[in-house]
Amino acid sequence: MKTLYDKLWESHVVHAESDKPDSMVILYIDRHLVHEVTSPQAFEGLRLAGRKPWRVNSILAVADHNVPTTDRSSGIKDPTSRLQVETLDQNCEELGITEFRMNDQRQGIVHVIGPEQGATLPGMTVVCGDSHTSTHGAFACLAFGIGTSEVEHVLATQCLLAKKSKSMQILIEGKLGCGVTAKDIALAIVGEVGTAGGTGYAIEFAGSTIRALSMEGRMTLCNMAIEAGARAGMVAVDETTIEYLKGRPFAPKGVMWEQAVSYWRTLRSDEGAVFDRVVRLDAAQIKPQVTWGTSPEMVASIEGKVPDPALITDPVKRHDTENALKYMGLSPNTPIREIFLDKIFIGSCTNSRIEDLREAAVILKGKRIAPNIKLALVVPGSGLVKSQAEQEGIDRIFREAGFEWREPGCSMCLAMNDDRLMPGERCASTSNRNFEGRQGPGGRTHLVSPAMAAAAAVAGHFVDVRTMNE
């Protein structure tokens, strides 16, 4: 009886130092995704050692972190950002690596384009120098983030040195309430297990609630496995997975497709497989979530309040809560609904896919953003998501509501380009991290779902999206 994780792990072990379960192994990597920020030093290291990439066509590269989301016709203004993007272009050109350049319609956030192109397939090991690589686990692959030395290691050897993690099953049963989304499940899980709760584990999300989620929803959930401390999150293959992949550019075709699908169907945990830890959640209990602090575990439901540090007994936790409230400019016991916002950001590898944009557009249709909102941004996850949305007329809904409709990239998820918060500004964001300074120095981030971000844009403060259309 094996878990999905056991199956994925065992099928990629090239060599093990010993037969102990925690032995260091050489693990084969099928897909290597590369972006501009964590790769330049790896390519340089490779070159200095006189090495070549082991298997060039396992690599797919894209620039996403530094790219501007406004008009791109005159290139990147910031010279350091430009140099980093050009360095990626040069490295890819020199080594014959497939890259979607900035003006290619297929360009976008690395974790959006991998699945969109069918470059992420079930049964693969997928790595990228980026912690949100866990996203790809939605396709029943073993996907995790690595550091730059490891990027170089994979380039040179097509392998990584790795140790097997423990396994955790997060079992969610039941039907989600109306207006409650995968993002709320993700935030509720991080709130439940804590940002370190998944450390040392690979998480499999299972149960009827997960089965009912679209691939977009599953990606949102796996994306945030790392926010619960787990390097990898995954979901078993089912019809939804197969349906999504059919006809994608990098997905197999014809006889090979049939062959692949029959293998993919085995990619689930066997009945009775044992996990090191099981966490259960009841979908019906999950309410729309909003973070109030500077760590994703500092989260409450829309019906809740900002906590009162005076009531926290653990001194370390009290100290952290006080720090967070000070940074966030919030007083204890403030109802979440009374938190007013300056900016709205809909985007990031967590929530910038077509379904996310549709979810926000439903709320925004025929409405305007509140006068206190200084800027509302939508940044689609890829050029293809953008054009799909334009075909559906979603861009018009956003524009008419007062949102800016931008070019794809990471944008204000981490503010490496020009999109950022000013000190003290408060933002409802569909991204995944609310760390100090994440969206700009002194900026204050509240993580929410696209529907909740849209609702907050209209109201000017957080509101319960479940009551929006009444």
């Binding site: 084969y28 082991w54 550091g147």
Partner: protein
């Protein structure tokens, strides 16, 4: 990779849990395409009062006197001791690079985030997990004793206090071997190149769609 055997270093306490890699090295410094020079921007938003941009001279900047790393008694620290879940968040190896470039050789905490922990070993920075009660005690001692140094011996897997208390720590034997010898992991893996090729050939036969 830099070799690590022993360190008898001055200790600086960072009394916070969940210190994330965005805090260790903020994103604007990630635009560099080099591997060095990050030490001056370590904990930039906590360490300075002005906003840091790549290329700024540390000597020209307004330092935050309240931040622990800026206190005169901790100058020259080689060991950092912090709370739970150190290094969470982004996978950026720039975080261990910045810690090492600043002069730190050892990070002690009750727990670390997985990717950060793993990245440290790749460059010869030693992360040590000690029980949270021990960490509490050590932080108290550091704060109340000036010039507090710990002796870390990797071969023996021990941390020794000035009062001669000895705490053992665990480390994976392969990682220990690589650290003590300063080995290049890529070179080690390539010793198994034939096995990798055989594995790849079998995979190509069994799952040809992965190679199309």
């Amino acid at each position: 990779m830099r070799k690590f055997e022993q360190c008898k270093g001055l200790v600086v306490p960072l009394d916070r849990a969940n210190v994330d890699t965005d805090a260790i090295i903020p994103k604007q410094f990630l635009k560099s395409i080099k591997r060095s020079g990050f030490g001056q921007y370590l904990f930039d938003e906590w360490r300075y009062l002005d906003r840091g941009e790549p290329g700024m001279e540390a000597s020209q900047r307004k330092i935050n006197p309240d931040f622990v790393l800026n206190q005169p008694r901790y100058q020259g620290a080689e060991i950092l001791i912090a709370r739970d879940n150190f290094g969470c968040g982004s996978s950026r190896e720039h975080a261990p690079w910045a810690l090492q470039d600043y002069g730190l050789q050892v990070i002690i905490a009750p727990s670390f985030a997985d990717i950060f922990f793993n990245n440290c070993f790749k460059i010869g920075l030693l992360p040590i997990v000690l029980d949270s009660n021990v960490v509490n005690k050590l932080i108290d001692e550091v704060v109340t004793t000036s010039g507090y140094r710990l002796f870390v011996d990797l071969a023996a897997q021990t941390v020794t206090t000035p009062g001669n208390e000895i705490y053992s720590f665990d480390i994976d034997p392969f990682r220990k071997y690589c650290l003590i010898n300063g080995l290049d992991e890529i070179g080690l893996t390539l010793q198994h190149a034939d096995k990798i090729k055989q594995f790849e050939e079998r995979r190509r036969r069994e799952q040809p769609w992965l190679f199309a």
